[in-house]
């Protein structure tokens, strides 16, 4: 088999055709009515999740369909403001003024009382090298809540009781 033969050929006559995927002309429908209790609760700085009566899974943010049971969950339950980091990563974004690549940590939080995760951002002051799986975090609200997802400003670190236990045993 002749390797990489095609690279040696000349392609003066290769022509590229323009083509567009009109992605911006697509729209996405979503039932906001069933989300309304969740958004109203956010305005009051409360967190609620949806509980499936069949398998008792609590989803936060609420899921409109329970895949395990193929039912429509309809029971709202209150959740605490704390949670743990289920997993995390960092994106590297180039700062336009300095040209440096900055780490931008993204965490998946499992809210205490819920069974699902929520992708969100961490307090920008926390270095992402200090983040670990299982780290406890607490919600930080915006001062003026408006009843949308942006009311959650970010998640902040709190003292980890298990780490204290570790240092005591050492």
């Amino acid at each position: 088999m002749v390797r990489l033969e095609y690279i040696k050929k000349e392609y003066e006559k290769t022509r590229q055709m323009p083509g567009k995927w009109y992605l911006t002309s697509c729209r996405y429908k979503f039932n906001i009515t069933r989300f309304q209790p969740f958004l109203s609760a956010l305005k009051e700085k409360r967190l609620i999740g949806l509980k499936c009566r069949s398998c008792n899974t609590v989803s936060f943010p609420p899921k409109l369909v329970c895949g395990k049971c193929l039912t429509r969950p309809d029971q709202w339950v209150s959740l605490r403001e704390t949670g743990i980091v289920a997993t995390f990563t960092a994106n590297y974004m180039k700062d336009e003024t300095t040209g440096e690549a900055n780490a931008f940590p993204v965490i998946a939080v499992r809210q205490d009382g819920a069974d699902t995760t929520y992708l969100t951002q961490l307090n920008p002051k926390v270095k992402f090298e200090d983040v670990y799986v299982g780290m406890p975090v607490k919600i930080k609200w915006k001062d003026n809540t408006e009843g949308n997802l942006n009311d959650i400003d970010y998640y902040d670190c709190i003292d980890d009781p298990t780490q204290k236990m570790d240092s005591l045993t050492k």
Binding site: Y6, W21, L23, F30, S59, F60, T89, A101, D115, V133
Partner: protein
């Protein structure tokens, strides 16, 4: 009439590269189809039906199999198109299997084709648009578009891979050097295989570790390339198999099981998959496919594995989930050489997805390479005799897992039917 024994009798590839600008999509596919039919010493008249697939968003062409009818050889033949994201190739392989296994009169020899010409389109647009619907919904719920893009952009393929890497390293104690070792093995294997993209016979762990991070803990040197390429595979019945090949590879088990969407859920909401390394879908797939193939001890019975792993941590994770290694020990097997081509359980001797990734075709190439190892015709043939092998693929948000189990013996007829 159903439950017919199915065999793979031939596989063909075209040469993969980052930009195959000498051919267009249809001609690229045609190279692989020709190679496949030539290897089986037959022409297109022997084919009764065709199954094709790719990820259309990456080339910006909807339903490409319609206009490439003649290049596929599908004129006045039945053609079905199956696409499921990254696992498209695996789903195409499985659809080809079902076409033969169903036992419809007149459909005995089936050609499966999967392809991708990523240089035609914008791969990052293709990948980010996976979650575009969810992002727009979250945006409608009040999160500013910019931060939604940043947060959920991390949920695209590489983002989820880094979540998986973090969790895997956390639970198994595998280090970044271990990840680099996996990459080095793949790239060196690729150098021995004629159709692969990144051939690096002298790649070292130090070289990988010297490259910068693109998403912690994955480095630039660890990441899969974007390739142009196509793969074709020919299925037929047990009775006809010997006409095409001396040693056919029999398909004994297939499964494609999807778990909940990882990280992102319905309507941008939370997903029930707390640990992206958990991969219940892969475990279920393995259970189903091994049961069909009559394999009770995969770690002992399987001689060769081709797993779909664009990122090195995934190779370790899949090998464990598919029951080939003990939990959290896969990286140790790479250290002691079990997975090398001359080892006990060679893995990804073709170079794997880490060296060549024409996304739609990748998972079919896994099945094809597994079959070729059994038939003794692989580019980088392992020294030992391969009796049973697996070809694996994943797609979607790493939630749909396809698995094909091949063997040099037909399936034991144990099922009461």
């Amino acid at each position: 009439m159903g439950d017919r024994q199915v065999a793979v009798v031939s596989a063909g590839f075209c040469e993969h590269a980052s930009k195959r600008s000498d051919v267009n999509m249809a001609e690229l596919v045609n190279e692989a189809v020709h190679n496949c039919l030539n290897n089986a010493n037959c022409d297109i008249d022997a084919v009764d039906a065709i199954v094709a697939g790719n990820m259309p968003a990456f080339e910006g062409a909807n339903l490409p199999e319609l206009w490439m009818t003649d290049w596929l050889g599908a004129r006045n033949k039945p053609l079905m198109r199956v696409t499921t994201g990254g696992s498209t190739g695996g789903s195409v392989a499985i659809a080809g299997y079902y076409n033969v296994a169903a036992g419809l009169p007149g459909i005995e020899t089936v050609l499966t084709v999967a392809f991708e010409q990523q240089s035609c389109g914008n791969t990052s647009v293709g990948l980010s648009s996976v979650a575009l619907g969810e992002i727009s919904i979250v945006n409608a719920l009040g999160l500013p578009a910019e931060s939604a893009m940043r947060i959920f952009g991390a949920g695209a393929a590489i983002g989820i891979a880094s979540y998986q890497a973090i969790n895997y390293m956390n639970r198994s104690g595998c280090t970044e050097e271990d990840l680099a070792r996996v990459v080095v093995q793949n790239r060196r294997n690729a150098a021995k295989n004629w159709w692969t993209h990144l051939k690096m016979p002298d790649y070292t762990i130090e070289q990988v570790m010297a490259t910068p991070y693109i998403s912690y803990p994955l480095r630039f040197g660890m990441v899969t390339p974007a390739s142009d390429g196509a793969c074709a595979m020919l299925y037929t019945t047990e009775e006809k198999a010997k006409d095409f090949a001396d040693i056919p590879a029999y398909v004994n088990g297939v499964a494609s099981v999807s778990h909940e969407t990882a990280i992102l859920g319905v309507g941008g909401a939370g997903a029930g998959q707390l640990d992206p390394c958990e991969q219940v879908g892969a475990v279920e797939s393995a259970k189903l496919a091994y049961a069909q193939a009559g394999i009770s001890f995969p770690e002992k019975e399987i001689d060769f594995a081709e797993v779909y792993s664009p990122f090195p941590n995934q190779e370790l994770m899949w090998l464990e989930r598919l029951g080939l290694f003990e939990e959290n020990t896969a990286h140790l097997r790479y250290r002691d050489g079990t997975t090398a081509p001359n080892g006990e359980l060679p893995v990804n001797c073709s170079g794997g997805v880490n060296s060549t990734n024409a996304i739609g075709a990748s998972a079919l190439e896994r099945v094809a390479e597994a079959a070729l190892q059994i038939m003794g015709k692989a580019g980088n043939q392992v020294p030992k005799t391969v009796h049973s092998a697996i070809g694996h693929g994943w797609g979607g948000c790493i939630n749909l897992v396809t698995l094909t189990v091949l063997s040099d013996q037909p399936r034991r007829k144990w099922r009461a039917h």
